[in-house]
Symmetry: C2
Subunit: 578 residues, 2 copies
């Protein structure tokens, strides 16, 4: 049989030996066909019978040839875009397969939202995780746009592109011994019953250890992608957990621990969330680079971005350069930056494409911000008793690193029954339920956000994506909130009563339907505006957008009020009148 | 939750770190539940809440605790017994899971034969491979008792205990480019269509390399369990092949190659064929011991007999001591001999059992030797031309090591038209088709078998299991053949006109239905009798029984005559009259 393509003179990554060896590689159709020390062409002795009239011959000129990158834990929505457009950007960066957990679009439009993703044509191979935690907690704690329950899960399990149950995060529901039946346990059982061995159960278990961790894993959830420490890497590995390391886990200490104990077989490199502006700089290749920069040998980093992730997901048809496997590969000039010279998907060279207008989303996806406009009274907090002098309040304190809040208490003066939160140097958060379900409005206080006067509002607000407004100036909060209703979704910063920066996310209030380049630029402007107002965090947008996420420590605000994440108990804004 | 069982003070094998660490292990039901540095009992400080009134506590006393052994390439019939009895013997030896390729019983009774295996209750977990090559070649080359074709394969694929397509061995049919449609290609496609990712395709490709090997793997067959050399290990690993190493592959050179290149992730230890007498000495634990004895670090040998085989077969519920996995484990006093102190299957301690009479096989399985009795004329070879003085014959030469024959030519005197093969120091082989299909009788000559007068006959004759008689004394050949018809299957040695040793295999002519101890003793007697007659080989029974196997080099005899294995062309017994 003639080959369709022959790559000559490449240093080919041999997965099982984890080394580079000079080889010629023949591709037939979408698969690797033969990998040989030499495939002679015309003028090199007896011409190989692999070479026919139509065989394309590419001289790699001594460059490195590695398998296409495989990202098994990620959310396309984190890049505020849709699969087709995501594919256009990341395929030339070397990512050839992803397992997407579409749990943001699911929180807004449920199964219908996921289907609008799965129906899209992409050159990239997109497999799917079933969002296991939509809503993130329970309806009594927050109002999402939709739910992924048993019926939706059963539907999704029928699709062979569905590889796993995605990040099970409600530790309490999974392991509470007093309650044998919880939703998440039913979903786990449903997966096993429907698909037997052919399904993976993926977890999200930050800061859980000891007997609790044992119980979590015993329930069947044997992977975790949250932030790791050296200690958690050892403990989780010893308990049989597969670790998906994202950027924040790839510290020199963690990389050293992985290397000291040669734990490469049970780790994979993943992206989890990549903001659109960061996406323009790279996707999984950026994480591979970070791993190398922090001490991981390049051969190991490649292994953990190609072979181990494929194996974890039972994608045995890819992840290595070997006969019969999908011919997804990258040619690289050097092994440090992982910047592809060229990328091949299913045997075809990837060409950079222009953006195409999306036609995937129904009209109602563009009309998803269904709450009332803000009124000045929304930003006035009143004390229960008109005669009190001050109130002790429960406040979410944000830090300059990470997305977890700290629960603190602050005393605030009260005048004429009004809590003077601005005088206390705090910001107010108001959340408007925006899925048209109950019109809830909830309020909380934040320390450590803005130092100058202004506000930010967003409908991209994990995980329920209600309309979230944060600020220290009622005028700006009003302007930002009303602007988002007018444009039906996005992120907006207001100063001096007017919007000064915005990122438009008209699809379900969380996605752009334009080119990533555009939303990346807009988001950069929003971030810069927030920083101008004094917001300090290594991940400005995400730390703000997760103030409403009730599964990430410690004190969070949903449309139903403040919640202690650990105990899952409501917390009053005013602890005491003084 | 209380644990049902707690193992204290064990050095537990931690799979991902491949080391032993002192741990206490809690088991609940059939699964591991918690693995902790310490689970305090009464008198050890605050008693763990894992311990209730019914919790059994076992002090391992510092012994080693490893996962149960998993053998993913083996044939129960090679031990001349049936699954229930096999389970009785091997579970106390530490084998807790096998993937059985029942291709011997399939060659006699097809799907019905396999079903009689699958219907048996075993304490051991028995998964199945679909016998891909029944008959081993084609009906034009040999007469088997049955065929496993597309219909049978489709039936088997519906059973969730079926994990793979077993040892695809017909290289020619798989890779011949001129013939796009062959039976084996249809079976491969059928497996993929029916089960997608959840099926493995296992190969058998001895001595294949270069472009041929590439084509074999490109067809989707990415595992091999045949005899390896250092070179084949490297070449096959580089091409992405998973290697299942059996005893004959575990030479010091091969083990060193695996270690030098750290290829442990893509190898597993397997038994393939274990004769009944050898089975009494051990099953997979014997292979683990051999690997260690030949230089494999013990932690690696355990890894490759527990975790890598489970992973290869997508048996993600077992193969390690970790929460949620099946509580199959072994306690060992030392790490050299792998002789279990005790074995636990699904959380229960394995007790040695007595043999139970089988009731699994229908009556017709005991009436399977359906050929005529031998007559003296069967052992007379006549020349075509009465006037020739001698004939040049094609002869199968056997060696003292291995089961491959060498094709040689020998000149034999002819007197009165009769070929005097006895005078040439050769043995005669006569094969009687015994499945009641066509009554074929075929003859061949063997060099290097017996030096003293005698004969051996067997119905355990790979792969078609026709009645095979080998000897240099017509009187003894007659006696042995007729004896096997009388007892309806087995193996018999005759000397001086009478049977002097026999192993009775009444089920399908290939299995004993008694205790393994008994057939082991009988087989030992047969082997001893053959050796007394001068038969010299490292594997006496197998080298004799594979003289009829037309997929193993080089010249073989089936009921249809001599066959050149490589070319799959018939070969005449008499090459020329002189």
């Amino acid at each position: 049989m003639n080959a369709d393509l022959i790559i000559k003179n490449a240093y080919v990554y041999l997965t099982f030996r984890q080394c580079f060896v000079k080889r010629d590689v023949a591709v037939a159709g979408d698969r690797f066909y033969q990998i040989l020390p030499k495939i002679p062409c015309a003028g090199e002795g007896e011409k190989s019978d692999l070479i026919g009239a139509d065989t394309q011959i590419v001289d790699a000129g001594g460059s490195y040839m590695i398998p296409g990158l495989i990202d098994i834990h990620m959310h396309i929505e984190s890049s505020m875009t849709y699969p087709e457009e995501f594919s256009r950007i990341v395929l030339p960066q070397g990512t050839t397969t992803v397992v997407a957990d579409a749990h943001e679009i699911a929180n807004v439009f449920g199964l219908e939202g996921i289907r609008t993703f799965m129906d899209q044509k992409t050159d990239l191979d997109v497999f799917y995780a079933i969002p296991s935690s939509v809503p993130a907690t329970d309806w009594e704690f927050e109002t999402a746009g939709a739910e992924i329950g048993e019926a939706e899960t059963a539907q999704l399990l029928k699709d062979e592109r569905v590889l796993c149950l995605g990040e099970v995060m409600n530790f309490q529901q999974l392991t509470k011994e007093a309650e044998p039946e919880t939703k998440i346990r039913r979903l786990v059982r449903l997966c096993r019953d429907a698909r037997g061995r052919d399904i993976r159960l993926e977890g999200h278990c930050p800061k859980i250890s000891g007997p609790d961790l044992n119980r979590f894993i015993a329930a069947g959830i044997d992977a975790d992608h949250t932030q790791q420490t050296s200690e958690s890497v050892i403990e989780k590995s010893d308990l049989g957990m597969f670790l998906e390391l994202q950027h924040k886990s790839l510290t020199p200490e963690v990389v050293k621990t992985v290397d000291d104990h040669q734990l490469y077989e049970n780790i994979a490199l993943v992206t989890d969330d990549t903001m659109p502006d960061l996406l323009m700089e790279g996707q999984l290749n950026r994480i591979v680079h970070a791993a190398i920069a922090n001490g991981m040998p390049v051969e190991k980093a490649i292994y953990c971005a190609t072979y181990t992730p494929a194996r974890r997901m039972h994608l045995d048809d890819r992840g290595m350069i070997a006969p019969g496997k999908l011919a997804d590969f990258i040619l690289l000039d050097d092994l440090q930056t992982i910047s592809p010279r060229s990328v091949y998907k299913s045997g075809k060279c990837v060409e950079k494409k222009d953006w195409q207008a999306s036609h995937y989303f129904p009209k109602r996806f563009y009309q998803s911000v269904l709450c009332r406009k803000a009124e000045p009274a929304d930003f006035v907090l009143t004390a229960e008793r008109a005669d009190c002098r001050s109130v002790l309040t429960n406040v979410m304190k944000i830090h300059e690193f990470g997305t977890m809040t700290e629960a603190v208490q602050r005393e605030i003066p009260v005048r004429d029954g009004v809590i003077c939160w601005q005088e206390a140097g705090l910001c107010l958060v108001v959340i408007y339920e925006r899925h048209g379900k109950n019109g809830n409005v909830a309020r909380g206080l934040v320390e450590g956000a803005f130092s100058l006067a202004g506000a930010v509002a967003t409908t991209w607000s994990h995980d329920s994506h209600n309309l979230f407004v944060l600020g220290n100036s009622p005028e700006d909060m009003l302007a930002a909130q009303q602007y988002l209703i007018a444009i039906q979704g996005g992120c907006a910063v207001a100063e001096n009563g007017a919007v000064t920066a915005k990122a438009w996310l008209p699809v379900a209030g969380i996605l752009s339907d334009g080119p990533v380049e555009e939303i990346a630029r807009e988001l950069g402007e929003v971030r810069a505006a927030m920083e101008r107002l004094g917001y300090r965090n290594n991940n400005v947008i995400m730390s703000m957008a997760t103030l409403a996420l009730p599964v990430s420590p410690a004190l969070k605000l949903t449309d139903r009020g403040l919640l202690d994440v650990k105990t899952q108990q409501p917390v009053p804004l005013v602890a005491a009148c003084i």
